[in-house]
């Protein structure tokens, strides 16, 4: 039944957006984590979304979404001169995380908007299903 699939699709999107929200939260939380080497510093994480076609029906036009993995940003970590820092290397430098806070804020807003849209879709679908269940009464 197509409408139950619609609920499934919306819930898959909500799950995916929630993963995105979680990565954004991790990125913002770890923004100020420094490391002695470039490898030790925190690197921003981003989920990769992928379309999954629903195959239970013989018509393949219903597409849910899934998180196909987490991409770790390869943007270079900036170096800061901070000899007082316990994590500083022999030259007195620490490596900052490569999180861009503006990018993360934009991502967060986007994720919450998409989440809301899917909640609305789910509500509307539920209302329509209820109306059909009441048919002839």
């Amino acid at each position: 039944m197509s409408m139950l699939t619609a609920l499934k699709i919306s819930s898959s999107a909500m799950t995916a957006q929630m993963v995105r929200m979680n990565t954004t939260a991790s990125n913002l939380a770890n923004m100020d984590v420094v490391g002695t080497t470039s490898e030790q510093a925190y690197r921003a994480k981003k989920p990769i979304f992928k379309t999954v076609m629903e195959t239970h029906t013989n018509s393949n036009f219903e597409a849910s979404v899934k998180v196909n993995g987490i991409h770790v940003s390869d943007r270079a970590n900036t170096k800061r001169y901070d000899p007082q820092n316990p994590a500083a290397n022999d030259d007195g430098y620490v490596f900052m995380s490569n999180v861009n806070s503006i990018e993360e804020m934009v991502d967060m807003t986007n994720a919450s908007r998409s989440y809301q849209t899917n909640v609305e879709v789910m509500n509307a679908t539920k209302k329509m299903m209820m109306a059909t269940l009441q048919l002839g009464k």
Partner: protein
């Protein structure tokens, strides 16, 4: 065709098609952030036109009719949407368009539901003869 032979008329097919369109539009909205996803839709009026012309009439009790329902199973009724502006990640979903179409589709679904309800009520009162 009398109302008692086919009490639901065209509305049953319309409801089925509206329901399938919910799935397509929900997919578009779900994949709004998926790179390279192409938005799709069902052209309602053209699919309805084909289901009407495909509806084979039977003239004998042993003929097997082709129902409207079977015409709704193919992939041919799905078309790709032309986006009004291109995006860098190859995604052609425009949330505002999809949202308004989803709302429109659910309003029309409710209208079809009302038609069906009235049909059923009509048949019931005809059967009761009150």
């Amino acid at each position: 065709m009398s109302i008692l032979q086919n009490p639901l008329g065209i509305h049953a097919t319309a409801l089925k098609l509206r329901e399938q369109r919910i799935g397509v539009l929900a997919s578009n909205i779900a994949n709004v952030d998926t790179p390279n996803y192409k938005a799709r839709d069902i052209d309602f009026s053209s699919v309805m036109a084909t289901t009407e012309s495909n509806n084979m009439r039977t003239s004998h009790g042993r003929h097997i009719g082709v129902s409207n329902y079977q015409a709704l199973q193919g992939d041919s009724m799905i078309k790709y949407r032309m986006p009004s502006s291109a995006s860098l990640d190859g995604n052609t979903v425009e949330v505002n368009t999809e949202n308004s179409l989803f709302t429109e589709n659910s309003m029309r679904y409710q209208a079809t539901n009302t038609f069906l309800n009235n049909r059923i009520k009509g048949v019931m009162s005809a059967l009761r003869g009150e």
